[in-house]
């Protein structure tokens, strides 16, 4: 054994680990990049299939139709990716979005606030619900499933109460529908709702990968206890994560209201499952610790594309449901195979 009194740093010959592991890791990085690329595979396959099956599928106007129909669920899914990466779950997405839309209606139509202020306030009401979820989960230690289930019911009821169980229209709010339906990029026929989805994807990807919040979401989802004893303020970050998801919920509410030109108080139940499904199909694990924003977008697009394709083909609706179920199974199974092969 080495003598304690020996000087100098530990010589390299007594390295703590053998060097061949470094090699394995580099190969791992390459593989991961390949995976990112391959994740599109199911989506591409679906697009190809429908393009061949129906002439009306691959038109610009139908593509924007798919993107537009993915926008709301997509935005919800982006936000909840953070929650799921951190090992949580968020069931109040759908009705929370509806309540945010109703609040936007209250601010803009009932109270007549200026557009920007009303929209921001609407988004903040989404954030407020997220904050309450976060507090219930992190401070009162109510399991996320229960806390957000309760919020789902509360938001559902409040949306009806606040709106007086009638839709709130934005007819008197000039410019509001442009938030979803306008086309910001001149010459390109792409509705703003789609641009918002893409912009939020880019933003979300950066936040998840590069920000402290994203990093800590992974840490908490990976091993909450370890994160805690590493000195991370788990409580505070959980609250922030749910609040962020609430912000996305608020944005989805505004985009939805702008698309429908109204806040429909009875909408939204069931959207949470669709959003969570998009996240999971996109490769994020419900166990937490693993996930990607781009994956979530792809997951949402897979569902949007199948739904649209089957509708374009006029498949009877009862069969559509069956087929979507099967496609989800196959998509995730092949994804598993691919991952299994690589790792």
């Amino acid at each position: 054994m080495r003598d304690v009194d020996a000087t100098g740093p530990a010589p390299a010959s007594e390295a703590l680990t053998a060097p061949e592991h470094v090699r394995t890791t580099r190969v791992g990085v390459l593989r991961r990049q390949l995976q990112q690329f391959l994740a599109f595979a199911s989506l591409i396959a679906l697009i190809l299939f429908f393009s061949i099956a129906d002439d009306n599928f691959l038109t610009w106007s139908n593509i924007t139709g798919i993107l537009l129909s993915t926008a709301v669920i997509g935005i919800l899914a982006l936000g909840t990716t953070f929650v799921i990466v951190s090992g949580g779950i968020e069931l109040s997405l759908g009705t929370g979005m509806t309540l945010a839309a109703v609040m936007t209606g209250v601010f803009l139509t009932n109270l007549g606030w200026p557009l920007l202020l009303g929209v921001v306030a609407g988004i903040l009401s989404g954030a407020a619900m997220g904050l309450i979820n976060g507090l219930n989960i992190a401070v009162l230690r109510i399991p996320p499933f229960i806390a957000t289930l309760a919020m789902m019911l509360i938001a559902q009821g409040l949306a009806l109460v606040i709106s007086g169980t009638a839709p709130i229209y934005f007819t008197d709010v000039p410019g509001f529908t442009d938030i979803s339906q306008g086309e910001l990029i001149p010459g390109v026929d792409l509705p703003n709702a789609v641009l918002i989805l893409f912009a939020l994807t880019a933003l979300g990807a950066i936040v998840l990968r590069k920000s402290l919040l994203g990093r800590y979401a992974f840490a908490i989802g990976s091993n909450e206890e370890a994160a805690d004893i590493s000195g991370i303020d788990v409580r505070r970050w959980k609250i922030l994560i749910y609040t962020l998801s609430g912000v996305f919920m608020g944005i989805a509410g505004v985009v939805l209201a702008a698309r429908l030109n109204s806040a429909q108080p009875a909408l939204g139940l069931g959207y949470e499952l669709q959003a969570i499904a998009a996240v999971v199909i996109g490769g994020t694990s419900l166990q937490g610790g693993k996930g990607s924003i781009v994956g979530t977008l792809i997951g949402a697009l897979i569902v949007g594309t199948v739904t649209n394709g089957l509708r374009i083909m006029s498949i009877p609706q009862e069969w559509q449901t069956v087929i979507i179920g099967l496609v989800i199974l196959v998509a995730v199974y092949t994804d598993n195979l691919r991952r299994g092969r690589d790792g």
Binding site: V4, T17, K210, I229
Partner: protein, 544 residues
Amino acid sequence: MGQRQLTCAVTSLPSGSSDLLTVKSTSLGQPPPRTGRAVNAQLVRVDGVSKTFPGVRALSDVSLTLDAGEVHALVGENGAGKSTLMKILAGIHHQDEGTVAIDGRVVEIDSPTAAQDLGISIIHQELSLMPDLTIAENIFIGRERRRGFGLFVDDADLNRRARELFDHLGIALDPRAKVGSLLVAQQQVVEIAKALSFDARIIIMDEPTAALTESETHALFGLIGDLKRHGTGIIYISHRLEELAAVADRITVLRDGACVGTLAARDADLRQVVSMMVGRQLRGQTRPPSLPGDLPTVLEVRGLSTKSLLKDVSFSLRRGEILGFAGLMGAGRTEVARAICGADRTDGGEIFLSGRRVRVSSPADAARLGIGYLSEDRKRFGLMLDQDVAFNIVASDLRRHVNAAGLVRDDQVRQTARRYVETLSIRTPSIRQRTKHLSGGNQQKVVIAKWLARDCEVLIFDEPTRGIDVGAKEEIYSLLRTLADEGKAIIMISSELPEVLRMADRIAVMCEGRLTAVLDNADADQETIMTHATKLVPGGGVAA
């Protein structure tokens, strides 16, 4: 210096570490000790600390001091309270009674961050890393350099710092690798690097070498030497008592949550330490008696290969025999075990049980065929931490505890559990205690009990004595021997060569996925084993 306040009654001996150490080199990149304070000042003083968990008095009236530049070893049986005391210093638990003073000032350490702020860092006994994060992210979690209005992580900086740290420590790991993809030993190294990265003045090492092989242990001692020269105080916990002579300045022994005494390491006699720990003398080490040559072969492995590592591993195991597996970290011993018990897919090879070829495609198959595998990673593959001791002990043998109606007979379950709690001296307030709340070593014993209860013909023990105290080790050794004498065939994978030499009738040595030698105990010594473990012997694997 400060040991005067020691309240530990029995054998308080003068400290051996009162030499002034002046910092000259800063090769570790550590800041020089804060000015204005003597380097050999008393860093930590624990006074009359007690801690009770539901049903367990883990610490009672423990006192301890740590000087700058000192390595203070803490030893004691499993469940003696070592980790609990350290967790109090690390801000994970809070003491019920008593005080902790840092730099002579009484402090409340109420969170891990508070401990970090006081300059305390800890290598946890139970690995506490986040498997989905990279090595660099794990090491610097909570201490990332931020960019962009403090919102974003500077990853380049993170990786650079990690690489610098690794260069200093002589670690050859890619900081960008996911921790979840590392071997247990590599994770242990990451834990060590993480604790050292704090530039802490007080470093707690709770069994840092439990998962390491000798060369890494050696390197760690080198690092400890450097740290000491920089005035860092280290509390060092280990069950490998022979290490103490090499690293420790003082040794404090805990028993049943109380201090038994503190000795100067240079005056200490290992046997004395052991008897303080367990209250008795241990038998000296012996080699196993040679076995008769005509024992029937129970398990035969031919040409075992896996895509990732193993190449053409062949050996046989005889009834009543203990076959030791030695090798460096990553040599493939665990992989051999996992392949045999069906936990991993193999790429080639045949397994024969008592001459009959068998297919093992899952651990359930293996268990049915009478092959049991005790994993080296008890937390991940060994224990159901949320379940109680009884549940875990009968987990693999539950089928034999059901009545005619197929319902579990809990009286029998309790009986079995009690029996093994007794046989293995598992220290637990009751068999209904959740294993999560047991000390590390007692958790290990629970896993061992699980396989003893199952009564397999072939038992593969992967690092069975990891984290187990000397006394219990002896008990496990004699237990293994008894099992062998009863006719079981045993494979014992161990990174402690003395242990292998002491226990194994034959010793299989592996290197980089190949079996390089199978030695009879009589022909083996540490040097021969290391030769075979570090270079491929021409001609490849040795059939046994």
